[in-house]
Symmetry: C2
Subunit: 379 residues, 2 copies
């Protein structure tokens, strides 16, 4: 096992959160030398670390001379960077692997001070691949929050009636994407989760992939509801999508929806340890291409696609919404303990789209579904 | 103006969010060459960028050969890194300044490809120092959310009565830190803000600085309520603290609270463009040391302090909760447009503490208070 360095807070860096599962806002240095871990951080955060990783040695920046550097007129960031080098020297660490996002400002100073650093993203992805214990429990709670949010969105859409102008009304008021988003957020909150971004994208907004959606919802158009709540206690995520139509769906939307369900079912037949993410993606492309839909696999897919299946089949989910393993062109072999979101989708630019997505734990003998909600298009 | 590169998503990187004020989860490359901006990102996110920065040239990774690299067996991260180099070459960018947290994984490849990178954190801090327009409006909304959260916390504490065992009861149930936190979060939500972490720390928990607080609240102990909501629309933050006592406070807590109010008033007398953060911190240290309280300035402050005034006086607030300018030992001169949180505090380890904090906009002729709530200790 090589020595390791990470420099980040625990609220916005999965690599750090995995090592120190506690809430620490400000970035700090975490290291492992010959298997012994140390953390360079203020006494303010010492208790939080001791609670979750009592064996980690806490090094206080003040003990390494921070105040003297500041008194000499060094700015705070430069001084903290200098202290990071001193902490490595004190630990006897001479070389380390670091995550892809290791900050260049720290890296340049450590290297100038003689510490060898090598980026090894796969090493850190690998540490987080197999979910177990508190992280798996956190994903399960987030998945339940996603289901609660989906139920809230479906209930509001189901209660709606078309008004005179063809847009939906609910409770005497126009039904907007924002109203659905607010209901979803309230459901997340009750489930101990938070979702800053909630995608409720009607009609053409649902065909762009990342438009969060806004404004009135028309009857008969597909509404993509893509939810990725984060469990507050563990900072673990889930990811789940349904597409609903309140009113009568168009024929092509019905066709897309059936194709997505078929694709998901075919992919699940193959989901088990050993299959590669690429193989799963190809299963989905097979289904869609056989129905005449463009995918990124066929030659026309080499230019940016705006119609058909223009994204990958999915991704790992854990302390990041998007993490290893990938389920696309470069997808590697799955292992038991992987948590993967599988999300077939079909779209036409300027018109609308359909996507369904569930979250699965890969098990020794197949998989276990973590998210749960009806796959019907009618809410 | 030097050429610039940033590599991040907009949801967790203030430098990027300042340039592209839209919601983009996945990290991407943003560059400026001879004053012209480009962004390397998927067509999925193109619309979001066009809406806020129509002049930014969008470069699609697929146009630069991403699929060929993946077909050749390169893993996705390596391929995207290679494409980042191609995007710089295409733009004619040969050297750039980057933020401190620029990811080492990208930096190493760009440098190997002949692009010179220099970390210049101050350049990016400077871009965000003066708040105006949408960001200032966002800070104002976050500050109102903080006030609403504080009112909710105070109302719940004010409604409480001591039970037989000395802990507070409200509505027939024990009053816990978690209940207060839930009320605060609900108030944030109604104000369009989100606060993953809400600090409600009674007694000894309030003396450690960063313990978020948990469990029953006893009558007569100081409860530190430190709120830092983030405005959902702009991703801008506010920061605000009050310390409440439900019941009769101890004499030393009353003395600390009066000292903190005195210190805040003395600091505000000096708050204006041109004063340095260090000078403001010294004003606060003067007040506390004259009352016999230890600070980081006096010689005993060179070892880690656990009692007295053990942190700095404050910090800038904007797209980060903690950003430039600092109000401590290395604090530089303030300018009109700075938004600063000022937070004098006094503590005794294992016993409790008092902190009060408000947010101020530095103006040409002094300051404007952005947060607003009673400074009384009784809720």
């Amino acid at each position: 096992m090589p020595d390791v360095l990470i420099h980040a807070g625990t609220l916005d860096c999965a690599e750090m959160r995995h090592e120190i599962p506690a809430a620490i806002l400000d970035p700090f240095l975490y290291g492992e030398h010959d298997g012994a871990a140390f953390a360079l951080l203020s006494v303010l955060d010492e208790g939080s670390v001791r609670e979750v990783r009592p064996e980690v040695e806490i090094v206080d920046p003040l003990e390494l001379g921070l105040m003297d550097l500041l008194e000499q007129g060094m700015d705070r960031d430069a001084a903290l960077t200098e202290i990071a080098l001193r902490a490595c020297e004190r630990a006897g660490l001479r070389s380390a692997v670091v995550p892809r996002r290791f900050p260049l400002g720290i890296a340049d100073r450590l290297r100038a001070g003689g510490i060898e650093l090598a980026v090894d993203g796969a090493q850190f992805d690998g540490r987080r691949r197999v979910k177990a214990g508190a992280e798996l429990e956190g994903v399960r709670r987030a998945a339940r929050a996603a289901g609660a949010g989906m139920a809230a969105a479906a209930a509001l859409l189901a209660s709606a009636e078309p008004g005179g102008d063809g847009t939906l009304q609910a409770g005497g008021e126009p039904l907007t994407a924002e109203r659905v988003q607010a209901e979803v957020r309230a459901a997340f909150e009750l489930a101990g989760a938070v979702g800053d971004e909630v995608l409720v994208a009607p009609g053409p907004q649902g065909a762009t992939g990342h438009d969060l959606g806004s404004g009135p919802i028309a009857a008969g158009v597909p509404v993509v509801v893509d939810l990725w709540p984060q469990d507050r206690a563990s900072r673990c995520w889930a990811d789940m999508t349904r597409t609903f139509v309140a009113g009568e769906p168009a024929d092509d939307v019905v066709r897309w929806h059936n194709l997505c369900r078929d694709a998901l079912a075919r992919v699940l037949d193959a989901l088990a340890p050993g299959v590669t993410g690429r193989e799963l993606w190809e299963v989905c492309c097979d289904v869609f291409e056989a129905a005449g839909e463009p995918t990124q696999r066929d030659p026309q897919g080499r230019t940016p696609l705006r119609d058909g299946f223009f994204h990958s089949l999915g991704h790992g989910v854990g302390l990041e919404v998007h993490e290893a393993p990938g389920l696309g062109r470069s997808g590697e072999a799955l292992v038991a303990g992987d948590v993967v979101a599988i999300e077939p989708g079909l779209y036409r630019h300027g018109y609308g789209g359909v996507r369904i997505e569930d979250l699965f734990l890969v098990t020794e003998d197949g998989y276990e579904a973590l998210t749960s909600f009806s796959l019907e298009m009618r809410p």
